[in-house]
Amino acid sequence: MEKELKLYKKSLRLQTVFYSVSLVLLIIMMALSVFEVIRPVFPDERWQSMWNGFLFGLSAVYVVVSILGIVKNRKAQQNEAELKKMYIQTHDEREQAISRRCGQTALIFELVGLLFAIVIGGFFSPVVSFVCIGCLLYLCLVVVSLRIYFGKRM
């Protein structure tokens, strides 16, 4: 268990670095957006402002999540009991089995949903249909790549 905890501590440190770097980048982007140095490309002023607000809100959520993640990770790194508790929670095999099953089911729903969207969208908007085809192809590519990767690893 000690060896696993040591490795987990290392991964938490890496995760904290990732959170911190992305947090700084996002705050810079948000500042640039507030001072209108960068702005979303929209010909319509009203849409531009709306989209800007949406992106700002999304970024703010990520900032809060990152800060919470950093605080949680720091707490676990300094307290062995907390670290063990967090390790057990994240590595619990039943939780992992649930996640795996959720992923498999969600993938089926996504593929079927996209197929429907392609067919139905085709009657109303070819753009929507083409976007859905792109998403479907991307999803299939990811699934095939992951199957090859894990097939070689297991």
């Binding site: 268990m1 390790y87 057990i88 619990d92 939780e95």
Partner: protein, 68 residues
């Protein structure tokens, strides 16, 4: 899959939480294994059996598999 975990826990006066912590899993997982909703992996089954000083076959009931 049926198990003797609940009986063994009672015998050793252990709570689900204590057993879960000892074998490195969550209380919910122990509950699910006890009621037969979830089948433990081989490493976890080994850890549980080892914790009680028994073999896997003595803790987990494989009769259903044998019938197949």
């Amino acid at each position: 899959m049926r198990t003797k975990i609940r009986e063994l826990r009672k015998l050793h006066k252990l709570s689900q939480e204590e057993l879960a912590e000892a074998v490195g899993t969550t209380r919910q997982t122990i509950t699910s294994i006890e009621v037969g909703k979830y089948t433990a992996s081989l490493p976890l089954a080994y850890k549980i059996a080892h914790y009680f000083g028994l073999t896997i076959e003595e803790v987990f009931d494989f009769s259903e598999l044998e019938e197949e």
